[in-house]
């Protein structure tokens, strides 16, 4: 259903079995007797042991084999006579996904890992090895992401100047309903990368979106500029006309001069400017009929007055 690949899925394809397996494996020789397994199994709390002759894997002997042997009263039998010889193995250089698939297919608790070509036993892998490795990798990934975020969010501290301002500028075309909202969404993404508080970002994005919509619907186009400072975000929306004759009226919720077609699309509900005002800590609007409108809003990023006006 979902085509989205999760981080875990990515990791089990990327990681190799040798990165997850346990090295330094406890092993027995085929000429050991079954009775000797008791102590090994007990002391190491394991349920199966690879059988190795001159570094080469020749079989695997499990706790079940041991119990059967006990029941048969043949604890003096050689391991080579009671072990499983036809062993399912994994190669050290295979991706972890092969191990996952094999666990699902066979339901065994462990697989010996051998070197390709020479059957040399190099490790053993269990489901818990896989889980531990994935968790560790995810943690490393998370740390890297945090470092990256830290860097972005401390960009201002890294710049050496008396005052630092980042400026993002977006052009807004008149009547371009298809692209309407893109400036706000691009600004939102950029602010996210700077590591700015999501609550603040949301307020900036909403105010910018409404300003952008107004520009698209009513004006002959204009420009939105965001000035990012360590303690505030200032958004200026400047268009080239036609201007608002009565700003007080335009600020009233529900007042709209949007054409019917635009209203049918769900725009022009007369809520644009009121919404902007709600999101902004400061708002200033100047308009000259025939010339254009200048809207300027300020949102404090250090939240002088903690007012989550939007949820």
């Amino acid at each position: 259903m979902s085509k989205k690949i999760t981080k875990v899925q990515e990791l089990i394809y990327k990681l190799k079995i040798e990165q997850a397996m346990t090295k330094g494996v406890i092993k027995v020789h085929p000429k050991n007797v079954m009775g000797e397994l008791r102590e090994i199994l007990k002391n190491n709390r394991i349920s199966g042991i690879p059988v190795v002759d001159e570094d080469k894997l020749v079989g695997i002997v499990s706790i079940e084999d041991f119990i059967k042997c006990m029941a048969d009263g043949k604890i003096d039998a050689f391991i080579e006579d009671r072990m499983t010889k036809d062993v399912e193995i994994l190669y050290a250089d295979e991706p972890l996904i092969h191990a996952v698939n094999k666990f699902n297919k066979f339901g065994f608790g462990r697989f010996p890992v051998i070197e390709r070509g020479n059957r040399k036993l190099v490790g053993i892998i269990t489901k818990s090895d896989i889980i531990k490795t994935l968790l560790k990798e995810l943690e490393i990934n998370l740390q890297e992401e945090e470092i990256h975020r830290y860097r972005a969010s401390h960009i201002f501290e890294d710049m050496i100047a008396n005052k630092t301002t980042l400026i993002f500028e977006y052009n807004v075309a008149s009547q371009d309903f298809k692209r309407a909202g893109e400036s706000a969404s691009e600004l939102k993404k950029s602010l996210g990368r700077l590591g700015i508080n999501p609550q603040i970002i949301r307020r900036v994005a909403i105010a910018t979106y409404e300003a952008e919509m107004n520009m698209v619907i009513f004006t002959s186009g204009g420009r939105i500029t965001a000035y990012i400072k360590p303690d505030e975000i200032r958004v200026k929306a400047i268009d080239s006309g036609p201007g608002i004759p009565d700003i007080k009226q335009a600020m009233q919720p529900g007042f709209s001069t949007a054409p019917p077609m635009v209203q049918e699309w769900g725009f022009g509900a007369g809520m644009g400017l009121p919404n902007i005002k709600k999101c902004a800590d400061k708002m200033n609007i100047n308009s000259i009929v025939g010339k254009g409108t200048k809207l300027e809003i300020v949102i404090y990023t250090q939240s002088k007055n903690e007012t989550p006006k939007d949820s």
Binding site: K188, I206, Y209, W265, D310
Partner: protein, 116 residues
């Protein structure tokens, strides 16, 4: 509640296989006025509307909504779907009018103690 379950219970038509239905829906909001949604919808909500043009996806991204249900059997425009896939906003369609689907959805979400 998982979107997957809502889709099944309300027999919604999912408009693309690319959508991730594994998201959790926390609440709902119904409106056809974009500014109203922008002002009042909550994050992770499912949005019920009759609007089909691509700006609904922009609004959903802006408000971090979890999905959109379009009512009255109206089909989203091709551009809307394209953008929805790009931005990973699941879009569903129901033949039911808004009143009916909202009623059912409300019962479904609220009966399980989800609150807004």
């Amino acid at each position: 509640m998982k979107l997957q379950k809502i889709v099944k219970e309300l027999e919604l038509e999912v408009m693309s296989e690319a959508f991730n239905l594994d998201v959790v829906i926390a609440d709902g909001y119904a409106s056809d006025l974009l500014s109203d949604v922008i002002a009042n919808a909550k994050k992770d909500s499912i949005w019920i509307t009759l609007q089909i043009h691509q700006n609904i996806i922009g609004v959903a991204v802006l408000k971090e909504l979890a999905g959109i249900i379009i009512v009255n059997g109206r089909k989203p425009e091709a551009e809307t779907l394209k953008k929805a896939e790009q931005e990973n906003i699941p879009v569903m369609v129901t033949e039911l009018p808004a009143f009916e689907i909202i009623g059912k959805l409300y019962g479904l979400l609220r009966s399980l103690g989800f609150s807004g």
